[in-house]
């Protein structure tokens, strides 16, 4: 497919100078230079279709093809209007994108059949593209192929239309049959939803009358696979007795097919009186492959942004309010605007220059691949609000026959779902800020004793070279205990000057500037400060911590510029404004209505401060190290409303946690960050985003203010329907993030996506995305836990699951007597387990004694920002068996790591297991494990080292240890955003084993919670009861 596409680009440039009037004169030379085959398509916009046969002399050899060659572009023209109604998956407007892109390359097929050779070899990856040839290829092959053509357009779906050309061209029939049979039968037989053909298309096909007689003859070609289709795995076959009726009527086939595809069931019936619950525990679905990104959606909608940036909980929009009310799961999206893209897929940057950023006049949507052009390219129609906008003169380009701009392939904003625009000065309220970092370090006695200062100082020093925005970076430090210590980094000094302010009630700055300085100018002063920092306070015995005044001081220093404020807090703030009380050790609060108060900020000071910080473009990251309670709930609200992040290192000790802190701090300092940003999500008429979940501050009803945002943060939001009945065919979404890059450029990152509007609940279930649903549900649950009891939060989650499965059951249970079975859609097969896992997650599990309040809050803050993939791994960690892997060749290790179900039954006493939840590694040593292996890995004899909590794993000079470290490295490389700290626990080592490992085995029964099997039974019972 690619060479012809390349040819098509050649004429693309000269054409931009086209004037409709002079088309005939200007047309031929470029095309003669390029591929002559392009001509019919290219000339089409300038000549009525009826003139087509006379235009292209090069095609004279294939004279019967000529009228057909002209027809499809004309048909494309029909797509300019509102997109045609859609079949379930691939027929919406997006496939028309590939349709349009694919149509020129079809030229070669029109004249010669050999090019179809490679085509035939490659169908599976080319899914959507395969849809194009049927309209072209068959015509070239001559009259016999008109059959599929006549049948083709009505049967939309890319896969459905693909087979005919493989079958029909006589010369290719044989070699292609394997391909045809390789296609999955169910999709192959997709019924022709007749309405999905745009009416105008009919009129443009000159060959329609002659093809009509062949229509019935072409049908049988479709039917055999239909009739040989395997019956659905469950349900009595008698329910399909009306099957012969299907070939004649289109739509019912969809139902049949959906049954084949969708629903899965679990037998949960037990014989009366038997102890066996009747559930095959091993057969329960488990997400051992981690997150499944909805890649199918991306294939069907290649103009959408990649699902890593934007995922809908179900990639459909319900057409009516009643459908929404029957969809009991949240309807919304998970947005990860700065997700790291793999190498080679960098986001293209577009600079519009003097034309300015092209946006819709009314709804301010940015130009995107779904925008259509009209009036010979002088106008463009906004796909969100359908307003016709003028195309600026500098941006003008002529259209081809299909209404597509010639330069579409050269312009990423018209061909890719994700682009970045360079924003001109209208998008700035002030000159782009320099990246600035201000460190607020608690130097009270606990910080000194734990060795925190040393680790922090060393890490910052090692990162100085990699800080973002090299020549402009600003840096500053403020240390505090019961007083505030300002440090003067004036570049003319050789040593930093320390100034102590003891007045906590009325904080003032001892110096007007030089507290936040340019790193390049004052590099030597900063370095000498970092060298002396650990010693400066090493005999400090002050136990107080005046965080509140320190925050105020930091605000005064940074207020003008903004930037990132990193707070290193190791005790409970005890002095000045914002001092906090010890709370959270009150057992009695749990289970009462007052329980949630422990999880919300105690002092409004922190919220007000956070609001002020956001206003001045300051993002706060909290690093908390206390071994006692330090009220993460209050401190975390600083991060929550400023787009920051909470790092919690309970009982920090430099020797054990130092490595983790070092990695995470340097990641925080050096990852690509978008500064002073705002994000807005626009969507088409009829839907509206109502609530947002994540770390940000709402500046207006739909504008998220994000002082700093980076690749580790995702946001979730919920949708609601504004109209009772949606009349459009598709709804478009556009995420726009306006930010200042570290290099000081103002940029707009735009992600565009389309989703079809459906009227069918089963279609919504089919397109459901478990990752996004779980992500959204977890965030809602964590937010609810701030205003409700944990117990009722968990009940709400369960209720949502039950309601949705009950609704799904009602769709099918009438036709099929599936009494003793729990049925669920294939797309949601992991949902019950994930919801169980959310209920057992660190943030929501148990009650007072199960998790300390700080850890619970810290986990809650983490869950609010984690992208879907990491969240799923956090709530359902990966468990690997390592003892066998360790004896392998190092090269084969990565492939042989297999995830195991999270249940105690998987743990063999003679095994060594590793649990990875994305934040820690837990190494579990079986009781019967050979002592040599243990000693090799730990580097010490287990018998001489009773306290495993203090052990550090480092590479020892032996085979097992090296392999073990390779495993850890491999797993860490999968995700750099967090450094998993290894912790070792022995089998039967209570109580550590209990709260480290057993509480993470979410499929097992723990105190007061059900096991996976009980959970399924419980859900099943509840879905059955009305």
């Amino acid at each position: 497919m690619h060479p012809p596409t390349g040819n098509e680009r050649l004429p693309g440039r000269p054409v931009s100078g086209f004037v409709p009037g002079s088309a005939a004169a200007a047309g031929p030379p470029p095309f003669a230079a390029g591929a002559p085959l392009m001509r019919p398509g290219a000339a089409a916009p300038f000549a009525p279709p009826t003139q087509q046969p006379g235009v292209p002399p090069p095609l004279a050899g294939a004279s019967p093809a000529a009228p057909f060659g002209a027809a499809p572009p004309a048909a494309m023209g029909g797509y300019r209007g509102p997109p045609p109604p859609q079949g379930p998956f691939g027929t919406g407007p997006p496939p028309q994108g590939p349709f349009a892109t694919a149509s020129p390359p079809q030229g070669p097929f029109a004249t010669a059949s050999p090019p179809q050779g490679p085509f035939a070899k490659a169908p599976p990856p080319q899914g959507p593209f395969a849809a194009a040839p049927p309209s072209q290829g068959p015509f070239a092959a001559g009259p016999p192929s008109q059959g599929p053509f006549a049948a083709g357009p009505p049967s939309q779906g890319p896969f459905a239309t693909a087979p005919p050309p493989f079958r029909h061209p006589p010369s290719l029939g044989q070699p292609q049959s394997p391909t045809g049979s390789g296609m999955p039968a169910p999709t192959y037989v997709r019924p022709p939803p007749v309405q999905s053909q745009p009416p105008p298309v009919q009129g443009y096909y000159p060959g329609v009358p002659s093809s009509n007689p062949q229509f019935p003859m072409s049908r049988p070609a479709y039917q055999p696979p239909m009739q040989t289709m395997p019956p659905p795995p469950m349900g009595p076959p008698s329910s399909y007795s009306n099957q012969p009726a299907y070939p004649t009527s289109g739509p019912p086939m969809g139902t049949l097919q959906s049954l084949v595809e969708d629903f899965q069931s679990l037998s949960v019936s037990s014989a009366p009186g038997s102890l066996d619950p009747g559930v095959d525990v091993k057969g329960l679905p488990r997400p051992l492959d981690g997150d499944e990104e909805p890649a199918k959606v991306f294939e069907a909608y290649p103009l959408n942004c990649h699902p890593r940036y934007f995922r809908l909980t179900t990639h459909t929009i319900p057409a009516s309010q009643s459908l929404v009310s029957r969809w009991h799961l949240p309807l919304g999206a998970v947005v990860h605007p700065l997700a790291e893209s793999p190498d080679g897929e960098e986001v293209p940057v577009v600079n519009f220059g003097s034309a300015g950023v092209i946006r819709c006049r009314r709804c301010r949507t940015y130009i995107n691949p779904y925008a259509t052009f009209a009036d010979a390219g002088r106008k463009w129609r906004c796909n969100l609000c359908t307003l016709l906008n003028d195309v600026p003169g500098e941006y003008f380009c002529a259209l081809d026959a299909s209404g597509r701009r010639y330069d579409t392939d050269q312009r990423p904003e018209l061909s890719k779902g994700t682009v970045e625009f360079v924003a001109p000065t209208e998008y700035m309220v002030r000159p782009p800020m320099p990246p600035s970092y201000f460190f607020l370090i608690d130097v009270s006695v606990s910080a000194v004793r734990s060795g925190l200062l040393e680790v922090v100082a060393k890490t910052i020093k090692s990162c100085l070279d990699d800080l973002l925005g090299f020549p402009r970076t600003q840096i500053g430090f403020l240390t505090f205990d019961s007083t505030l210590h300002f440090h003067n980094f004036k570049s003319s000094l050789s040593q930093p000057q320390m100034m102590v302010v003891a007045d906590l009630d009325d904080v003032f700055l001892p110096l007007p500037d030089d507290l936040l300085v340019n790193l390049v100018d004052s590099r030597h002063v900063v370095e000498s400060f970092l060298d002396s920092l650990p010693n400066m306070f090493h005999d400090n015995v002050n136990v107080e911590s005046a965080l509140g005044p320190a925050l105020k001081a930091a605000f005064m220093v940074m207020g003008q510029i903004g930037g990132k404020l990193l707070v290193f807090q190791s005790t409970l703030p005890s002095l000045g404004i914002g001092r906090l009380r010890l709370r959270g050790d009150d057992v009695r609060a749990y289970g009462t209505d007052k329980e949630h108060i422990l999880r919300v900020p105690e002092d409004p000071f922190y919220k007000q401060m956070a609001a002020e910080f956001t206003k001045n473009q300051i993002a706060v990251d909290i690093f908390s190290f206390s071994d006692k309670y330090c009220d993460i709930a209050s401190l975390g609200s600083l991060a929550k409303y400023t787009g920051g992040q909470v790092y919690h290192y309970p009982s920090f000790q430099a020797t054990t946690h130092g490595e983790k802190l070092k990695h995470e701090l340097s990641r925080d300092l050096t990852r690509e960050t978008a500064w002073e940003s705002v994000m807005r999500i626009r969507c088409g008429k009829g839907v509206r985003f109502t609530t947002y979940h994540g770390h940000f501050m709402l500046r207006s009803t739909d504008l998220l203010a994000l002082p700093a945002v980076d690749s580790d943060k995702a946001f979730a939001m919920q949708l609601s329907l504004e109209e009772t009945l949606m009349t459009t065919q598709a709804v478009y979404f556009q995420v726009a993030l306006l930010y200042t890059s570290s290099s000081g450029e103002r940029r707009i990152r735009v992600h565009t996506a389309a989703a079809p509007v459906v009227t069918d609940l089963s279609e919504m279930y089919r397109q459901a995305d478990t990752g996004a649903i779980v992500s959204l549900l977890a965030r809602i649950a964590v937010e609810n836990s701030l205003s409700d009891k944990l117990d009722s939060v968990r009940q709400q989650l369960q209720l949502k699951l039950v309601r949705s499965l009950k609704e799904y059951r009602n769709l099918y249970v009438v036709q099929h007597r599936i009494g003793g079975r729990l049925i669920y859609p294939e797309s949601l097969r992991y949902l019950p387990l994930y919801i169980l896992a959310i209920c057992k997650s660190l943030a929501l599990r148990g009650g007072y004694a199960d998790v300390s309040l700080d850890e619970r809050c810290a986990a809650g803050f983490s869950m609010m920002i984690l992208p879907a993939r990491r969240l799923l791994n956090f709530i359902y960690p990966s468990l690997y068996r390592l003892d066998e892997v360790l004896t392998m060749e190092p090269g084969r290790i990565d492939g042989s790591l297999k995830r195991l179900p999270l249940t105690l039954q998987c743990l063999d006493t003679a095994g060594l297991y590793l649990l990875d939840d994305g934040f820690t590694f837990l190494v579990w040593l079986g009781r019967m494990l050979p002592p040599e292996l243990v000693n090799d890995i730990l580097g010490v004899s287990l018998a001489n080292f009773p306290d495993l909590s203090k052990i550090q794993l480092r590479e020892c000079n032996n085979y097992h240890s090296r392999n073990f470290m390779t495993v850890l490295r491999t797993l860490r490389e999968k995700d750099f955003s967090c450094y998993q700290l290894p912790r070792v626990v022995r089998q039967g080592e209570q109580p550590r084993e209990g709260f480290l490992l057993l509480s993470n085995l979410v499929e097992d029964q723990m105190a007061g919670t059900s096991s996976y099997m009980d959970w399924i039974l419980q859900i099943h019972r509840q879905t059955q009861s009305s």
């Binding site: 919220k607 956070a610 609001a611 609200s637 609530t691 709402l698 009803t701």
Partner: protein, 149 residues
């Protein structure tokens, strides 16, 4: 001028002010909803008048109690109690970080309060006119009596 008339004149004025303050808060909230002002301005404007409103309402309630006007006092007492409760829990101010989430609730709360103050306004007007008329009739009666004698 009797004490009664002064009381009702005072209550008339203060209920007018209360209605005005509540309407002002409502306007701030709906401006915020339609993106005319930012949440920082909106919440600081609302928070600036909340205490005034509470104080005025409490004073009015106390005035009714001291003048032994039981009916208006009983009407106002629950609201006063509610205000005191909010104030003690430090929930009387609008939270700028969560203002959008609470927008609908806050609007509804102020709508109800506005309706309540309107009701109070009607009572006040009625009682004010009653008192004034009775006073004049009394005076007239005195006048008539002095003339006839």
């Amino acid at each position: 001028m009797s004490v009664e008339l002064i009381l009702w004149l005072f209550s008339f004025a203060s209920v007018m002010v209360l209605v005005g303050l509540t309407a002002y808060q409502l306007i701030c909230l709906s401006d915020l909803e339609f993106d005319y002002i930012n949440p920082y301005d909106s919440s600081s404007r609302i928070n600036a008048v909340v205490i005034i409103e509470y104080a005025l309402q409490a004073v009015l309630c106390a005035a009714f109690l001291l003048t032994l006007n039981w009916f208006p006092f009983l009407v106002m007492a629950p609201v006063t109690y509610y205000h005191v409760k909010l104030y003690m829990n430090r929930k009387h101010l609008v939270d700028v970080t969560e203002i959008f989430r609470q927008l609908h609730g806050e609007k509804k709360y102020r709508m109800i309060k506005l309706a309540f103050y309107f009701g109070l306004f009607i009572i006040t007007i009625y009682r004010l006119v009653m008192t004034a008329v009775l006073l004049f009739i009394d005076e007239d009666a005195n006048l008539v009596e002095t003339r006839t004698i």
